[in-house]
Symmetry: C2
Subunit: 341 residues, 2 copies
């Protein structure tokens, strides 16, 4: 790749990013010895067997702009994002997080304290604790505001992969799609949205996922949080890794009126943008009802819905049934706007 340069699309969560990761990182890091679920799995995190449990380890850097947005801020995002990556691998117990901040010279200390309070509040919701950290300061113009890396560990009785779908499984989403990405975009452009207030959904899903795993009793076989690239990207990865097709029914996919209105104004499909408080869950058909009921009993899951099926046709593809016909739900080449998370 000599002579080429990193482009914005390489950070978008779509095809270009996966190519960069696969061709540069995964290839280079691939032959490192590791007994567990490692980088090659390209999952939400790594998992290591410790005694009779699994330790899940994950990392995320948060570069969102603006730092404060409708429904949340970079502090809530950074805790939620990492708790959700852990939860997507089934790890909801004993969450310990790191917090590494890089701050631009001149950043107001009052804003730093607001961000920190949000982190504490999100940790309380998840039952997580920040146990260690790092602070760096860069000069004016060397970094735009603040970025926060949160890495974390938690324990799972058995890790859930994003590759576990089989033909016949049901796909569930835990709520409305596209709120985070569209709320941030609308805020960035000062859009007036019809259809009600549009807020980011940013939240830690730990307690809801714990309830779903318990209700599923081993029948939840794949999970992913549809962040960059949105639902389309997550379903695409799940289909491709499992070698199954996925059919989703458009009328069953929850989208809020405000997100739909914002998506139309901006020209972006709510199924193609980041969520920060939602999960896509693959479950054996016979347990789908029980898992759905457990999700709906949780405040963060009241709009949960079964949206589709894993099928034998068109392995690796996602088909959107619009009610009038069927078309491929094609993954975009990454998030349409940068710094969405």
């Amino acid at each position: 790749m000599t002579g080429q340069r990193v482009e914005m699309r390489h950070g978008g969560g779509g095809r270009s990013m996966r190519t960069l990761i696969e061709e540069v990182f995964a290839r280079g890091f691939a032959d490192m010895p590791f007994d567990g679920i490692g980088l090659g799995a390209m999952d939400d995190g790594a998992a290591i067997r410790v005694g009779d449990r699994w330790l899940v380890l994950t990392t995320d850097s948060h570069v969102i702009h603006p730092v404060f947005f409708p429904g949340g801020d970079i502090g809530r995002l950074s805790v939620s994002g990492t708790c959700n990556d852990l939860a997507m691998m089934g790890a909801t117990e004993g969450i310990a997080l790191t917090c590494a901040m890089i701050i631009e010279e001149g950043f107001p200390l009052g804003e730093l304290e607001r961000i920190q309070h949000s982190m504490v509040e999100a940790c309380r919701e998840a039952g997580a604790t920040i146990v260690t950290g790092d602070t760096k300061v860069m000069g004016r113009g060397e970094i735009d505001g603040i970025v926060i890396n949160t890495s974390g560990i938690a324990f799972a009785s058995a890790p859930i992969r994003d590759s576990g779908l089989r033909v016949g499984d049901k796909l569930i989403v835990t709520g409305t799609m596209g709120d985070h990405g569209l709320a941030v975009m609308a805020a960035r452009h000062n859009l007036e949205i019809d259809g009600g207030e549009l807020l980011s959904d940013v939240a830690p899903l730990t307690t809801m996922i714990r309830a779903a795993l318990s209700a599923g009793n081993g029948s939840i076989v794949a999970m992913k949080d549809p962040t960059r690239g949105g639902l389309a990207s997550s379903l695409g990865e799940m289909a491709s890794k499992a070698g199954v097709g996925i059919v989703v029914y458009e009328r069953t996919i929850p989208v809020s009126a405000a997100a739909r209105a914002a998506g139309e104004m901006i020209g972006i499909d709510p199924l193609q943008v980041a969520n920060e408080g939602k999960a896509v869950i693959g479950v054996r058909a016979e347990a789908a009802g029980a898992v759905l009921a457990a999700l709906r009993a949780h405040p963060l899951g009241k709009d949960a819905a079964i949206i589709g099926d894993a099928v034998a046709e068109r392995p690796g593809s996602v088909i959107l049934d619009t009610g009038y016909g069927r078309r491929l739900l094609v993954e975009s080449d990454g998030e349409p706007l940068p710094r969405i998370c």
Copy 2:
């Protein structure tokens, strides 16, 4: 702290940074439940009991400028820095690292690959594996080049604190002081150095520390890697946390001719700048000889030396015995130049 702003000194590793961390982060995060060594300890990482071992968790963001410097690059630094934080807490087994990169649009892919090769090489030296990662891209001018967060876990049979000194203990440094910080500064200013080539000492200390812990057989009671703020800052923290005084003998502290020359040209004390491949070790006096021998038998420890004693006088202070008299070795208010690591 409302109305105040973050300043460069807040990232320097000295008093101002500790005040920021203590007053904003540690206070805000302090009442989070945690059964282990957590943020309040202000150590190199956190430690959690898992079965009959301890899991150590640490994080570091690396913002060094320039990205390639004499003796290393940001890739080698990011792996070494995190392995060394783990090693300083006695965790040398089963090292699993995360790698989260934030890259500026336009960054050359060829340089990214060079950085990655350095990470792989440093992992090999430490017996570490990169198991998961994250990639973000920011626009031109939103981030200067590339920053890398590496977080990591490893296991220790018992965690080593930085607070464990008692009166009568010996202080050991594992090699020459100041090479990393002075090499980076000299490179930044294109200085011609007398006294030989000046290279960063950046290296993972894992295998050397494992040998020292084995030779010490429980007698190593405190460790710290003297990064930002250098030896002066690390000794100051060790003295203050343990409530002992520390006397160090200037003639016994190894400083290379090149670092001494560069320090004089730039006007910076080699004892006040960052090292990235050295440790300060506190050891019970009766085991000091055995630990020193184990260090010297390792290629990274050939210049190791006993440099001082923990004493009852002036608890919390570090006294430098110059051979002509004694003066306080005062911690600087942070690294004299930003982005040194």
